[in-house]
Symmetry: C2
Subunit: 232 residues, 2 copies
């Protein structure tokens, strides 16, 4: 990661530090199809999409911004109109992709369905919204590169993981009170999510040697944990 030259950019730092962002939603409104405004609005998303492809194929270091630019159909300089530097681009990508799922996760924590039923909904949410989605790649990137981006790891922990864990814990606490779930799970909600992590890591590394039926594995897992007549 080359150190930025001292008198760095910031010549006209447009959007690199915009707080929120959403990548998939494309066209932004009512403006004429090819007007300057509407094209400009799509640029950022186009670049993020290209960055997702390149970063998830090659990892952070090995990704060349020339390639991102080419894939986005844009000159390299344009990237720097929207993102301060490569690192910011990466972080914004993670933010943009993962922020939207937070709500869904927290909503789950408030439901009062019996756990075994709720568990199936959560599995379904994971498979449809993450595992069968580009978000899987983003989480994989997070796992792979997170260590060298403490800021990003903290963001991810604060904005995504800790919320998911808390929601899970709330849900499990209520279920445990009803005797539907052993108390140990309340202390380590990670145990519920562990197979999801396995799914993501496994599919990235070993899918070709030993494919994994993720849905069935997750189903098996909840069947193991939520045995109706078990000793709590």
């Amino acid at each position: 990661m080359k150190k930025a030259r001292s008198g760095a950019s910031a010549r006209r730092q447009i959007a690199g530090t915009t707080p929120a962002a959403k990548v998939p939603t494309a066209a932004a409104g009512k403006v004429a199809a090819n007007s300057r405004a509407s094209r400009g609005a799509g640029r950022r998303e186009t670049i993020l999409a290209a960055a997702l492809d390149e970063f998830s194929a090659r990892g952070f270091e090995a990704t060349r911004l020339d390639d991102v630019a080419r894939r986005a159909g844009v000159a390299k300089g344009t990237i720097y109109l929207y993102f301060r530097d490569k690192e910011t681009l990466f972080q914004e990508l993670v933010r943009a992709m993962l922020t939207p799922v937070i709500g869904g996760i927290e909503a789950m924590g408030e439901s009062d369905l019996p756990v075994n039923l709720l568990a199936e909904r959560i599995v379904d949410l994971f498979v449809r919204e993450i595992y069968e989605t580009r978000r899987q790649d983003v989480i994989r990137l997070m796992i792979s590169e997170g260590r060298r981006f403490p800021k990003l790891a903290e963001f991810y922990y604060r904005e995504v993981l800790s919320r998911a864990v808390d929601a899970m814990r709330a849900l499990l606490t209520r279920a445990a009170a009803r005797g539907e779930v052993p108390r140990a799970l309340v202390e380590f909600p990670q145990l519920i999510a562990a197979p999801a992590l396995v799914a993501i890591v496994w599919s990235g590394l070993f899918e070709r040697y030993a494919p994994l039926d993720v849905r069935r594995m997750l189903k098996a897992h909840i069947d193991l944990l939520f045995v109706p007549g078990r000793v709590a």
Copy 2:
């Protein structure tokens, strides 16, 4: 990953492709303390140790061989006397660190102790031999970089993972026959190891924000799976 120049090295490819290797054992025998032979024998291990430090701190791409050399107290050229290139160095490191644990894992698969007891031994083996060891870093590297080293991923799958999975499955099959374990586990032995993966990933990314008592989590997990009076 700069592409290796075409007429690449291989000038005198000494050890880069030696099949087996063990990194930690230092002094190799009976030779006079500072003889060339004995020093030469240690070089490879010294370099691997330095490489472990650098790779696990920075990842594959960001690691500079100049730093590895400095840390090993060796000139950069020396590295190329023992390893064909950076990639080979990385792969040999993973090989050297993980090959030794295979035996221990397979031995576990043959025991006929009751599962709940055996499970505690396995947890103990994992914590002592991997989690509290530099091997944790190597596995983390494997997870992070494995995708871009299909050869290495295959090696790891073939020589380590598949053996572990098979051993686990054998063990679980017998336990299931005795009714100690639900049959679903036999189909997805990954479910047993999942929390170990969580431990490694979590400690790498979030330890500072939310420390995790890994031993207790793993204990909680086996208590959840191996409830004595459960319905098989």
